[in-house]
């Protein structure tokens, strides 16, 4: 017999539940996760390298986990800071999921870690859909990527708590229009803070660490419009009713 069953389940419910559990567990043990998203080559690793060195100088216990499709190059670079670093190879997968992160933290994340920076796979599309249990989500874009990046990748920019512009040392050479970039960010994520940085020229370095520590201390975070939605996933029930038409036909079509 053919039946239509209402499921009303969020497609990513499993990931969301895992992320909530992970966030609660980590928060209870004093660790706050910062999820870093950007396109490949935007300078995530270079900026993170500087932030990790600074954290170590300030005796803030931090750790970093970096995800790539292949190579351990990023982990090697980040490890130069002297803080615990782990490379995750996704074997071709374009994003991290909460369950993967949880698995990689098990037995590795040192006790007493205040901040865990997660450098997501370089990609502005897929990682945006997956909550990793982070408290702070940061999207980075370099000045070379064009001022309209926030409009081209609205989900990534729209869900960020913080936007970081990198490589500002070459902004003039590539004629980066900061005003246009800010206006585009504002369009998809009104009210979000935009930080300007240059890892090479040491500009704005430390601001990311400050924002992450503030988030860890429970300072109120920016609330992206795109994240403010009627909570459809809370409405989860299951009931069965028979399909009003064609039941017999459906049953007969089965051989």
């Amino acid at each position: 017999m053919c039946r239509v069953v209402d499921l009303q389940q969020a497609v990513l419910a499993k990931n969301d539940t895992t992320a909530h559990t992970l966030r609660a567990g980590l928060t209870a043990s004093g660790t706050t996760v910062v999820n870093l998203l950007s396109s490949p080559g935007s300078g995530k690793t270079a900026l993170l390298e500087r932030e990790l060195v600074l954290a170590r100088q300030r005796s803030v216990p931090v750790a970093a986990l970096t995800a790539d499709l292949a190579t351990e190059n990023d982990a090697e670079r980040l490890a130069r800071s002297g803080v615990p670093v782990k490379q995750v190879l996704t074997d071709g997968l374009c994003h991290l999921e909460a369950e993967m992160l949880g698995r990689h933290l098990e037995g590795w994340l040192p006790d007493g870690t205040r901040l865990l920076f997660v450098e997501n796979v370089g990609n502005l599309v897929c990682p945006a859909s997956y909550d990793l249990g982070e408290t702070l989500r940061v999207v980075l874009a370099s000045v070379t990527e064009g001022e309209d990046k926030p409009l081209k990748y609205p989900t990534a920019f729209g869900l960020a708590h913080l936007v970081v512009v990198t490589k500002t040392d070459i902004a003039e050479a590539v004629e980066f229009d900061e005003g246009a970039f800010r206006a585009n960010v504002e369009r998809v994520n009104p009210g979000v803070e935009v930080l300007l940085t240059s890892a090479r020229r040491d500009r704005g370095v430390g601001a990311l660490l400050d924002r992450a520590l503030a988030a860890a201390d429970g300072s109120p975070l920016h609330s992206p419009v795109m994240a403010r939605r009627p909570d459809v996933s809370a409405h989860s029930h299951q009931h069965t009713h028979e399909h009003p038409h064609g039941t017999g036909a459906m049953a007969q079509s089965r051989s």
Binding site: M1, Q8, C126, V188, N189, P190, R228, P230, S233, Q238
Partner: protein, 131 residues
């Protein structure tokens, strides 16, 4: 392209629901809602869904996608608008940044249409009075 991961999540949840229901012999269709701002491409999702259903109880099932347009309302001035793509999430009338997103982020399994097993089928030929 994370549509394969999304397709696998849909299939996993339908399989779980089918197992709970018991006696499900085939899933005919799955209806989902995809919001304009969900970051998912329905065509790519259908393609992945068809591939990933192979060898499961969902084999051959149709993925029916209801697109949900993004709509927002300005909290201060109550203006309501279609956000469009790329979305405008600050108020086009007053420029306010306190916006409520009314719809557009849906990524939801609405319902499934499936076949029960033979235990629910007629076990005898109806007698003439029943015809």
């Amino acid at each position: 392209m994370h549509e394969m991961s999304i397709a696998l999540a849909v299939i996993g949840q339908v399989e779980e629901a089918a197992e709970q229901a018991g006696d499900i012999t085939a899933v005919r269709s799955v209806r989902i809602q995809v919001g304009e701002l969900a970051g998912v491409v329905p065509d790519a999702l259908s393609f992945c869904f068809e591939l990933a259903c192979a060898g499961t109880v969902l084999e051959g099932a149709e993925l029916v996608t209801d697109s949900v347009p993004g709509r927002a309302r300005c909290a201060p001035c109550a203006h309501e608008w279609a956000v469009g793509m790329p979305p405008r999430l600050s108020c086009p009338r007053c420029g306010g940044a306190t916006t409520d997103l009314l719809s557009g982020r849906e990524l939801q399994i609405v319902s499934v249409r499936w076949e029960d097993g033979p235990t629910h089928a007629l076990t005898r030929e109806p007698i003439p009075e029943e015809r």
